[in-house]
Symmetry: C2
Subunit: 158 residues, 2 copies
């Protein structure tokens, strides 16, 4: 599976979450040999979870796996990973993180690189448009999701 | 609530997990004004989850909270937090992490400090004994939980 195909699965998840009224961030975990291990999306609204972000949901839906299953795997995510999801990728030794966009939120990309994880940002407009729409519509949920109190998100404020 | 009282809740959670056949790591999240926001334990064995560690379970069980609820809060955990749980504490702006022990596993303590989180290690023997027992009994589950393949955990190997 190439990067665009992997990201397409993450985008499908993000759109599903948006349709459910949730935070539109999705992710897909793909093994070294191209097998989809798991996919998922943010579940803050849907199940009241503070720990099911896109990436952690993909890990959750991948189930219990031995360490070897994660080695050389790629995490595709529609948005730059927050500190929790950054740490989750590092914990499991995921080799590469492919990011849809990092304009609406810049997460732990530098720390991922520092810890030896390869990072690619695809600058995908669909991912960015979806986040901008959501942040405009539900800024309070977005702030809650990233542990921020007063940050204002808008195209103008960026 | 003082540190020993907070850690006592985390230890109760760890023991519950051990009795359930799971990874004996527990945590409790306590607000700035001493209110228990949530408590939980590792759920890898119990619910097949790769993301419900002690600390993330405490966050999960705390439910959806605004950023203000986490500010100045303390995360009590029986074991030094892994990279994922380290990142989760940073994401939510938790001010302090109180750790039962870091002899059987040393997690992201340095990074927590680097990101401005206060860290205290209580060197609690009960926490250490419980982890040593578990690692001896079920090393393969422990390795899976920390994304390691071949690491050998024993009193002798440390």
């Amino acid at each position: 599976m190439n990067d665009q195909e992997g990201l397409a699965i993450a985008i499908e998840e993000a759109k599903t979450s948006y349709k459910e009224g949730g935070v539109p961030i999705g992710a897909a975990l793909v093994s070294r040999d191209g097998k989809l291990l798991g996919r998922g999306h943010n579940m803050r609204v849907q199940s009241g979870s503070a720990i099911h972000h896109g990436e952690t949901s993909a890990l959750y839906n991948s189930g219990r796996l031995p360490a070897s299953a994660y080695k050389g795997a790629t995490m595709f995510t529609t948005l730059s990973p927050c500190d929790m999801c950054t740490g989750a990728c590092i914990l499991y030794g995921i080799g590469r993180v492919v990011i849809g966009e990092n304009k609406t939120f810049l997460g732990g990309e530098a720390y991922l690189k520092q810890r030896g994880v390869e990072v690619a940002v695809l600058e995908n407009k669909e991912c960015q448009d979806l986040m901008e729409l959501f942040i405009k519509e539900k800024p309070e949920i977005w702030n809650e999701d990233i542990g921020e109190e007063e940050r204002v998100y808008s195209k103008e404020a960026k």
